[in-house]
């Protein structure tokens, strides 16, 4: 199908973009980044905005910065740039490996990290991976800037804390210590598809981080921030984290899943933890 009629603007800076988003009156304006989720939705007429505000050429949104403690990626950095190591990796390989398993190369060349987080599709990779990595969303609105952990930024299916007049400016990803361990397991029936289930785990003992995330549910990703005990005493995952332990966590979370789906999520979580235990 073809998209319904819409208008298009490409502001040169963030202030210009914010003005277009806020000043429309009765025009429903929407941000356009890589268009890799919005494009299909427009073509299928699932979305029918009056105005698209293309933010991909705004310098603040394509910047890459190291602020000492964290890597700051502008919202419009693409999956492919992360996959190819064109931005620094502060996560011991977690970022490029997640990026490389999103969709297909043709999609990764355009799709952006910020677009994926703002879109808040529960089955997408970045919402779960960045929650597990302890990343933050830097949001810019008419009244200034605020920073929200990604795990709190996404509040539901396709739902975030952002208002319609706000823009996701950047993602701030904390640097991991050298012996941090990362596990990520995505269940999908064909490479590049959206996930049926995702399990993610980060153990960074030096920073006292033992975090588990249950992703691709029928709700926002579920972050278990203090998983040291459930992972086994000192937080080093051992044999005690078996399928039953994973299942108890899934059953205890607000995921809106049926029995079979909860089993698949428990398996994904267990396999993610196995990667860390090795």
């Amino acid at each position: 199908m073809k998209a319904a009629k819409f208008d298009y603007e490409r502001p040169a800076d963030l202030d210009g973009a914010l003005r277009l988003l806020g000043g429309g009156g009765d025009v429903y304006a929407k941000v356009l980044a890589g268009g890799q989720s919005l494009g299909p939705m427009l073509n299928l007429r699932l979305a029918q905005p009056g105005l698209l505000v293309d933010v991909t050429r705004i310098p603040e949104l394509t910047r890459v910065e190291d602020d000492g403690e964290a890597l700051v990626l502008g919202a419009c950095v693409t999956h492919a740039m992360i996959e190819d190591g064109k931005v620094p990796d502060v996560t011991g390989g977690a970022l490029p490996s997640v990026a490389g398993a999103i969709a297909y190369r043709g999609v990764r060349n355009r799709g952006t990290i910020g677009g994926s987080v703002a879109h808040a599709d529960p089955a997408a990779d970045w919402p779960t991976a960045l929650s597990a990595l302890g990343a933050e969303a830097v949001v810019r609105g008419p009244s200034g800037s605020r920073t929200v952990p990604v795990s709190e930024f996404i509040v539901g299916v396709f739902e975030t804390v952002m208002g319609e007049d706000e823009i996701l400016e950047a993602i701030r990803i904390p640097k991991l210590s050298a012996d941090a361990r990362w596990g990520y397991y995505k269940v999908c029936r064909k490479p590049g598809e959206f996930a049926d289930a995702i399990g993610a785990v980060l153990v960074d003992a030096e920073h006292s981080v033992h975090r588990l995330v249950i992703g691709a549910t029928n709700a926002a990703p579920v972050t278990i921030a203090d998983a040291a005990e459930v992972l086994g005493g000192n937080g080093v995952p051992g044999a005690s984290f078996d399928l039953d332990a994973a299942r108890r966590l899934v059953d205890g979370a607000d995921t809106n899943l049926d029995d079979m789906e909860r089993h698949i999520h428990a398996v994904a979580l267990k396999r993610a933890v196995e990667q860390v235990a090795k």
Partner: protein, 160 residues
């Protein structure tokens, strides 16, 4: 309201008035009469519409022409004299890499990107990289064999 775009298409500088809702594939096919780019699903899944933008493969059905202002676009028509593409065309023909030909422009563009980007790709990597291009006819075996053959022959030439 129509917008003006300036872009390079197959080495030609093009200025055009486009409706923002026109995606790049429709612009190429209907406005530029470059019908080598095929449309399958029109929502990013099948890869038939793959073209090269600024050196990288992208799906032309979910990129709007208006947003491609200033870019350099290459469609399958631009690869007639490309040495690597000629090699691939011959391998596709000989290895039964196509039947109806619907997926072929996108397959060839993706295949060329795989060979240029991943000269050491083995069969499973080729299959992984091709997972975003659907073919309803061949069962992929011939396509994968064609790409493997070109990779192997280029390696042989390089090592002489």
């Amino acid at each position: 309201m129509k917008k003006t775009v300036n872009l390079t298409i197959n080495g030609r500088s093009v200025t055009a008035e486009v409706e923002p809702r026109t995606h790049l594939a429709d612009f190429l096919r209907d406005d530029q009469r470059l019908t080598g780019t095929h449309l399958g699903c029109e929502h990013g899944v099948c890869g038939a519409c793959t073209v090269i933008m600024d050196g990288e493969p992208v799906r032309s059905c979910i990129n709007f022409a208006v947003a491609c202002d200033g870019t350099d676009v290459r469609t399958i028509e631009d690869f007639d004299d490309d040495e690597l593409m000629a090699h691939l065309r011959q391998a596709f023909t000989e290895e039964h890499g196509l039947q109806c030909g619907y997926c072929t422009p996108g397959m060839l563009i993706m295949a060329r990107d795989i060979i240029a980007r991943l000269p050491d790709a083995d069969e499973s990597r080729i299959r992984l990289e091709l997972s975003g291009n659907l073919c309803r006819c061949t069962g992929y075996v011939g396509i994968v064999r064609a790409i493997r053959r070109v990779l192997a022959e280029r390696k042989e030439v390089a090592s002489v």
